[in-house]
């Protein structure tokens, strides 16, 4: 790990407020953790004796499991509270839930919540580190970090690289976090999809907006697909899945517009045959499963860094 750099954040709420150096530092830290994943004994003692509470108040499998595995690898004990089984369903407020978790002497909270801003709110309620595992359409910082980690592995430095993000940008926390992260690392970001899902106002975040798939994909170094959340969009944002696929679905022919070495990414879960042809999802260009593996290393890095900053700050306060 880079010893000359001092990481001071005890919370990870979003990418927007991180400096480019901080983004890079997390990714560099994750490189070290990924190396440990090849060992026969994968556990590290970094968080031994700590309790990480996974407060998942919105359905999630991949992210929740990835955080659990990451915490376990760091030797933490994991306490998982899910929305359907929590007292939130009985009307308990997030404040009360959080304070109960803190009273149980958890050392960190990882939160997934449908309300944007809830991790920030939570961080103001409790005196332990809070990590955002996705808040509504706001941010999903660890997803963006693992995406950037994967891109760095596959295509090297992101400085000057062209990355297209394709699909439901409007409702996507993954898109927002990735725009911030990719821009901080020097990449050029093009958002592409139907105008109802990719409004021009996204240009205020420093991304280019396009509704022309061919121009957006031409010479791109990577394309990030986003799941079309047809279950929540009814008929308001595009006429049908068929029309979406015919205009914006990724298939073999359209993949040829990319650079030859370009990679295809997807945060999952996939709608095979909608946003991507099924065989393309399983092709050599797809790095979808690499993303899953890298998600563990990145989350190990985030948990480790936030816990370390918290411990250091509390020790300083005592002194």
């Amino acid at each position: 790990m880079k010893s000359e750099y001092e990481w001071t954040r005890r919370n990870l709420i979003g990418i927007e407020n991180l400096t480019p150096e901080e983004v890079t530092f997390i990714l560099d830290t994750a490189v070290s953790f990924k190396k440990t994943m090849g060992r026969s004994v994968k556990k590290l003692p970094s968080l031994r004796g700590k309790v990480v509470a996974n407060l998942f108040l919105e359905p999630s499998t991949r992210t929740r499991v990835a955080f659990e595995v990451a915490a376990n690898r760091l030797s933490a004990d994991v306490l998982t509270v899910s929305g359907s089984s929590s007292s939130i369903t009985k009307g308990e407020t997030l404040r009360d839930t959080a304070q109960n978790i803190e009273a149980l002497k958890a050392d960190m909270i990882v939160i997934r919540h449908s309300a944007p801003g809830s991790p920030l709110y939570l961080s103001q309620l409790v005196d332990i580190p809070v990590v955002n595992a996705g808040d509504g359409a706001h941010e999903h910082p660890t997803q963006a970090l693992l995406d950037c980690f994967t891109l760095r592995e596959k295509i090297g430095s992101l400085e000057g690289k062209k990355v297209a993000i394709l699909g439901d940008i409007l409702f996507s926390r993954v898109a927002r976090s990735n725009i911030w992260a990719l821009r901080k690392l020097g990449a050029h970001v093009t958002l592409v999809g139907p105008s109802t899902l990719v409004p021009g106002t996204f240009e205020s975040m420093g991304a280019e907006v396009s509704h022309d798939l061919r121009s957006a994909l031409t010479d791109a170094d990577a394309v990030m697909l986003l799941r079309i959340q047809h279950e929540r969009q009814s008929q308001m944002h595009f006429p049908s899945l068929g029309e979406y696929t015919s205009l914006f679905g990724l298939n073999r022919e359209r993949t040829s517009w990319l650079k030859p070495e370009a990679v295809i990414m997807h945060p999952g879960p996939l709608n095979r045959g909608v946003e991507i042809d099924s065989d393309l999802a399983d092709s050599s260009r797809s790095v979808i499963l690499d993303q899953v593996t890298n998600g563990i290393a990145v989350r190990m890095a985030v948990l480790y860094l936030c816990a370390s900053a918290d411990e250091w700050q509390k020790r300083e306060a005592v002194l």
Binding site: E16, R95, P116, G117, S118, Y121, A137, H138, E139, R176
Partner: protein, 428 residues
Amino acid sequence: MSVEPLIIEGGRIVDPSSNRDEVGDLFLRDGVVSTPFARDKARVIDAKGKVVSPGLVDIHVHFREPGQTHKEDVGSGTRAAAAGGFTTVVCMPNTSPPCDNPATIRYINNAIAENAVVKVHTTGCLTKGMEGDSLAPIGSLKKAGVVAVTDDGRCVQNNALMRQVATYSEMFDLPVMDHCQDTSLTEGSVMHEGDWSLRLGLKGWPAAAEDIIVSRNIILSELTRAHIHMQHVSSAGSVSLLRRAKQRGVAVSGEASPHHISLTDKYLGGYDPVFKMNPPLRSEDHRLALIEGLRDGTLDCIATDHAPHRNYEKDVELDSAPFGITGLETSLPVCLETLHRSSGFSLSEVIDLMTRKPAGLLDLQAGTLSEGADADVTIFDSEKEWTPTIDGFQSRSDNSPWLGQTLRGQVETTIVQGRIVYEDGKIL
């Protein structure tokens, strides 16, 4: 009812209704503004260095009685009004149950008679249950004493019904006040649609949702000749539409709130629910358009939309928090700062927007220091700095973005019909 004669001595008397702005004495006897009388027969209030204005008038407050008196009731709401310098307020009908029948109005009138420390007028609903489906008994509500009709908090979406509301209300000479919101564009929305909502991942509330209904109301006012008043106007588009309609002589009017002229959507950057309002705080260009609307008379008055909620109700995720802020106790200093000190309005112009003009919109006998008028007076120090605190509020709620902020301009004395109801921070 006999009250002690009062002489308010040496203050700067600012009464836009009589074009008066001069240092002098004001005489109050038998509950009305009087001709001068002997000093030895009265209590003398030293107002040197202070402003003496007509009692402030607010045509848009929520007192939550009946139904949600844990947030506010007529007693606490009028105490907040008095502390803010208001002597006349008009309360909205979205209580629980809503004021869609004379019995509920009579219930509130009883509460007013028993507990109010300032004058309170009631409004009735436009539609039964505020459901937007059928006409409320507007004639009976008029008989019960309402001064206007509104479904505030909701907006009639059915244009044909809104036309009938306007036509029917006009028969009773009752202004229609409308909360302008096309709900098909705002479902799930929590803040202004713009760069900030995009960045924060919050569902945006386009200004067009207001503009569409303001347009509709202008067209229906022209068609029916009814007076339709647009509540808490928040968008530049609405101001522009109203400006053109007024130039054609259409009987429409509009109000702006202290928070919409002073704050913008950037304050939601920290997801603090105290800034969550309906309509939402908009961007700077909209805010400036509202101020220009007040300057050129397109917008007729200031109204607070005083909307109390208890602190635990706002202490939740932004998505779940209720809309609205309290406003009565901070309105005057916020308007002095935003309009007088920052935008070049004269003191008299600001007071006009908070006295004569709102009173005139609903034909209320208030907002003037003319001889023989009710002795409703506000004395304030326009330069005094103070910091609102939870303990200092008279309102039962404290959902104010100005808590802990330094404000300039403080009410010292509020007089209603010749009786001092608020003085030196205390309700008397």
